[in-house]
Subunit: 349 residues, 2 copies
C-alpha cells in the first residue's frame, strides 16, 4: 500500500511537472498527444489511480450510478428486479462503474433521495425502474440535466412514447401476452381469459392489450370484456380472479404476473384436471420454474446491458457531445412447461 | 437549486466568518458552544448541505458501505441474500448511509475490489456475506483497519469463533435443523435423513450437526452415517440425494436448502404419498411458500438491523473510541406447512 504510485512519483518518473501529469489525467486536450501517450503508458504500467475525492473535485465524476431498491413484497414478482440489479451491477463493473443503492417508499421520496444523493454523493446519474403514468421522476431529472436511463417506457397517456425526451430500454409485454394467447389458441382454447391488475397501470394495460389483440377474431367485444379480470397483484387475488374466470367459462388464462398465475393454476388444476398447461404467467420466476408453470420471460440481462451501453455513451463521451436519445424495445420469450406440477420438464417453445 | 444555501450565504446570514462556519461543521471542538448552536440551528433551518466531495476530503467519510453482490444461481437460494440486501439498504438509509454494490467472481476478485474501492470511492467500510473456512477477506480488511461486519461467522477450523477479531452477526443454523428434526421425531419419524452439501462448508456442516445432535439417541452412529447425504446445491441434485435416502429407509428428510428440499419433496411425495409433510427445507424462500414446503426461516431483517447498529457504532463514534467487537448469533424459526402442495396453508408452529 505504501509503495503505491502518486501523482508526484509519476511526474518524477516521467520527468514532467505535476501539473502536466494532472492535465493528462483531467484535461487531456491540453496535453500534446506524445506526452499524453507517455503518461497513459506509465499509468497503465504502475497502476496509478488518482485519489478519488480529489479527482472527483476536478472531474466531477464518481463513476457511481444510483438505483432505488424497491421494497420486498411477496418475493415472487420482485425477483425480476433483483435479477436486473445483479446484471446491472455486473455490466457496470466491467466498465469501472458501481451502483449506489437507496431505498424510498414512493416517487416523492425517490426524488428527495436524488436531490440528496446528487448533493452528498456526487453520483454521475441514475437508472430508474418501475416507470408509470405521470412519473414525476423523469421530469425532475430532465429539468436538472442529470443523466439517466429508465428500465421501462414513460407510459405517456397521450402521445407517442418515441417522442420521449430521455433514453429508455423496455420489454415488449404486449408481444409476450400475444404470443402466450396465440399458443393457447393453437392448443384449441377459445375462451382464454386475462388475469391482470386493475386498469390504469401502463405495464398492466400493455400486457392486457397483447392478449386482446390475439383474440380479436376469436371473441366478441362482450366476451373480451367478460374474460378480462383485474385484481391487485398476489397469489390469493390470483386464485379469486381465476374462480371468476372459470365461472365465466374460461378454459385457459394468460396472467400479468407469476404471483397471479400461481394462484390461478391451483384453481384451473382443480376445475379442469385433464388440462394442466392452461395457465401462463409472466416473468418466468423461480417459482414458475418450480411449479412447472409456463411463463413469459423478460430478457433482463439484455436490458441491463443495453442500459449500461447507453449510460457509458453519455458519461464517457466528451462533455459537449450531444448523445442521441435511445429507445429500445426488447422481445420477450415464451417459456413453455407442461403445467403438470413441480419440476415439470421444459417443452420446446 | 440556485437558491440552495452555501457556506458563504450561511456565514453572511449568521454574521460569522466562513472559516468559523466551516469549523463548526468540520471541527466543532474549535468553536464556542454558543456559536456552534447558532450555526447548527441555521443549518437545520436552511437545509444547508456541504458539497460532498469537498466535505469528503475534510472528513474522510463518504457514508457509503460496500457490499458484494453474488452471482444469480438458480434464483431459489440466492433470494435470502437479496432479502438481506433490501433490509440492509433500508436500515442504512434511515441513518444516512448508502450501499455501494460491486460484483466479484471469487474472494480474490472481491479483495481486489476492496482495494480499488477504498482508493477510488473512499468507502467507509464493508458488509461481507458468505463467510467460509480460510476466508482471506477478513484478514485483508483487519490488516488495513478497514471497518467491516460479516453476515456469517468466520468458521475457523480450530479455535472458538468467539475469539474472532472482527464483529459478526449470524443465524444459528444448527438450532434450526435440530428444531426441524425434533419436529419430525414428534410426528413419529425415526429414520430422518439429512440432505446437505459435501462436507467442508462451515454453514453446511453446522446444519448437519443440528440434525445429528437431535438424533443422537434415536439412531446408531452407523445409521447416522447412512442417512446423511451430501450433494452440490440444486433441485436435480436434491432429487438424486432423496432417492438415495429413500433406498436407505428414510421416511423424512431435513435439507440444507430449499433448492434441495424442492427436489427431495417430489421424490418423497411419489414414494410416500400419504405422508406429505416429511420434507423440511432451509431459508423459507418464496418457492417453499408456493410449494407448501416447511422450511427453517432466517431472521435476515433482524440480522441486517444488528449489522447496521454495529457499523453505526464504529463509524459514528469518536475517531479514537475503541468499539468492542460484537458477535451475535440469532435464532431461526421453523415455518410449518402441510406439504400438501401449492398454496398449502401455514400451520401454527
Amino acid at each position: 500500500m505504501t509503495s503505491r504510485p502518486t501523482l508526484a512519483s509519476l511526474a518524477e518518473q516521467l520527468g514532467l511537472s505535476r501539473q502536466t501529469v494532472s492535465n493528462a489525467i483531467n484535461a487531456p486536450e491540453r496535453v500534446k498527444p506524445e506526452t499524453l501517450r507517455r503518461v497513459n503508458d506509465t499509468i497503465a504500467a504502475t497502476g496509478y489511480r488518482p485519489n478519488a475525492a480529489a479527482r472527483q473535485l476536478r472531474t466531477r465524476r464518481s463513476r457511481n450510478l444510483g438505483f432505488r431498491l424497491m421494497p420486498v413484497e411477496d418475493g415472487i414478482n420482485g425477483a425480476i428486479l433483483d435479477r436486473f440489479l445483479h446484471s446491472l451491477t455486473e455490466n457496470l463493473q466491467e466498465h469501472g462503474y458501481r451502483v449506489t443503492l437507496f431505498a424510498a417508499r414512493d416517487d416523492e421520496a425517490e426524488i428527495r433521495s436524488y436531490d440528496e444523493l446528487l448533493e452528498t454523493s456526487d453520483l454521475d446519474g441514475f437508472v430508474l425502474a418501475g416507470t408509470h403514468h405521470g412519473d414525476a421522476r423523469s421530469d425532475w431529472l430532465l429539468a436538472r440535466s442529470v443523466p439517466f436511463v429508465t428500465f421501462g417506457r414513460p407510459w405517456n397517456v397521450s402521445g407517442d412514447d418515441k417522442d420521449c425526451a430521455h433514453s429508455w430500454v423496455d420489454v415488449d409485454g404486449r408481444a409476450g401476452t400475444a404470443e402466450a394467447t396465440n399458443y393457447l389458441l393453437g392448443r384449441g382454447h377459445r375462451r382464454i381469459g386475462f388475469l391482470g391488475w386493475p386498469a390504469g397501470s401502463g405495464v398492466g394495460d400493455d400486457r392486457r392489450a397483447g392478449w386482446a389483440s390475439a383474440l380479436d377474431e376469436a371473441l366478441t367485444p362482450a366476451d373480451l370484456d367478460a374474460l378480462s379480470v383485474g385484481v391487485p397483484d398476489g397469489t390469493r387475488q390470483g386464485a379469486e380472479g381465476a374462480r371468476l374466470l372459470l365461472e365465466r367459462g374460461a378454459t385457459a388464462v394468460v396472467c400479468a404476473s407469476d404471483s397471479l398465475a400461481l394462484g390461478a393454476s391451483e384453481q384451473f388444476r382443480a376445475a379442469t384436471p385433464g388440462n394442466p398447461a392452461a395457465v401462463i404467467g409472466f416473468d418466468d420466476t423461480p417459482v414458475a420454474a418450480a411449479m412447472g408453470l409456463s411463463s413469459v420471460a423478460q430478457p433482463v440481462e439484455q436490458a441491463a446491458k443495453e442500459i449500461v451501453d447507453i449510460m457509458r455513451h453519455v458519461l464517457d463521451g466528451a462533455p459537449d457531445e450531444q448523445v442521441p436519445v435511445t429507445h429500445r424495445l426488447l422481445k420477450p420469450r415464451l417459456v413453455l412447461r407442461d403445467g403438470g406440477g413441480p419440476l415439470a420438464s421444459p417443452l420446446s417453445s
